[in-house]
């Protein structure tokens, strides 16, 4: 932490230590989520019914599987940023904070990988389109 310029005096402060990129990533993924979840809701409403055949054929299309994979990556990135702030605000003990943030990373990366794998598996091997 410097004591020269104004930027030097604030750099490295705050509970995250590098807030600028985090802040911007949160907004970018928020806009991504807005577009992708709106797509999901409209796309679901467009379906004639929610029978297995209909939904399975819907999800197997590239025009659905690809945005779904993008949505999962984008959502879990946003979840990581959002819950990170929650943890930094409420978990004050450094050791517990480190452990909770590690668990958060395991959760978001694991959950995103699971979801993306399920969509890809279904699109590659699943129902006849």
């Amino acid at each position: 932490m410097g004591n020269g310029t104004k930027l030097g005096r604030v750099r490295g402060l705050g509970s995250a230590k590098h807030g600028g990129k985090h802040w911007l990533d949160q907004r970018l993924t928020a806009v991504g989520n807005l577009l992708l979840t709106t797509w999901l809701v409209l796309s679901l409403l467009w379906l004639p019914n929610f029978d297995y055949e209909t939904v399975a054929a819907w999800l197997a299309q590239p025009s659905v599987a690809v945005p779904m994979i993008l949505m999962l990556a984008n959502i879990f990135w946003h979840v990581r940023l959002g819950l990170q702030v929650l943890i930094e605000d409420y978990v004050h003990d450094e050791g517990n904070k480190f452990a909770t943030l590690t668990l958060l990373n395991f959760y978001v990366i694991g959950a995103a990988a699971f979801g993306i794998f399920m969509v890809a598996k279904h699109a590659f091997t699943g129902a006849p389109a």
Binding site: A30, A56, L83, L86
Partner: protein, 146 residues
């Protein structure tokens, strides 16, 4: 860096008088947490059930959508648990979405006048509750009729 106990700490929730602007901020966090956990796990369960085939999709539907006419008492209870959870996630989705749009607009530098802050906060609640009610009625009409 260990926390210095002598440093002043900011006053917490119980100090402030509740208002729409304060509530909308707290709800943004809470609803984000609900979706990050319950919402995301349900989404992954749904995707995995589609990938798993007709039986797993039917199992998902029997838990979350409708337990069916031959369901036992405990199955109906579990079904209602997931229905209420889904209602909570749906409300969280719209609350977080409209509140998020408000945040994006404020990031542009708009709407910082006290009256505007209050109006937008109230508008977020009205929009979220209206959208949730519409979806709930749609789902009830489509899946829970007769």
């Amino acid at each position: 860096m260990a926390q210095n106990p002598n440093r002043p700490i900011s006053p917490h929730l119980q100090i402030y008088r509740w208002g729409p602007h304060m509530a909308v901020s707290i709800f943004h966090r809470a609803t984000g947490f609900v979706m990050a956990t319950a919402g995301m796990l349900t989404l992954l369960w749904w995707l995995a059930s589609i990938a798993g085939g007709p039986e797993s999709y039917a199992a998902f539907q029997s838990y979350v959508v409708s337990a069916g006419e031959e369901a036992t008492g405990i199955q109906v209870a579990i079904n209602w648990f997931f229905r209420l959870l889904a209602l909570g996630v749906t409300y969280s989705f719209f609350q977080h979405m409209f509140s998020g749009i408000r945040h994006l607009l404020m990031d542009l530098g708009a709407g910082y006048e006290l009256k505007t802050v209050r109006t937008w906060s109230i508008a977020v609640y009205i929009a979220a509750l209206t959208a949730t009610a519409l979806v709930a009625m749609l789902v009830a009409a489509r899946f829970m009729g007769a």
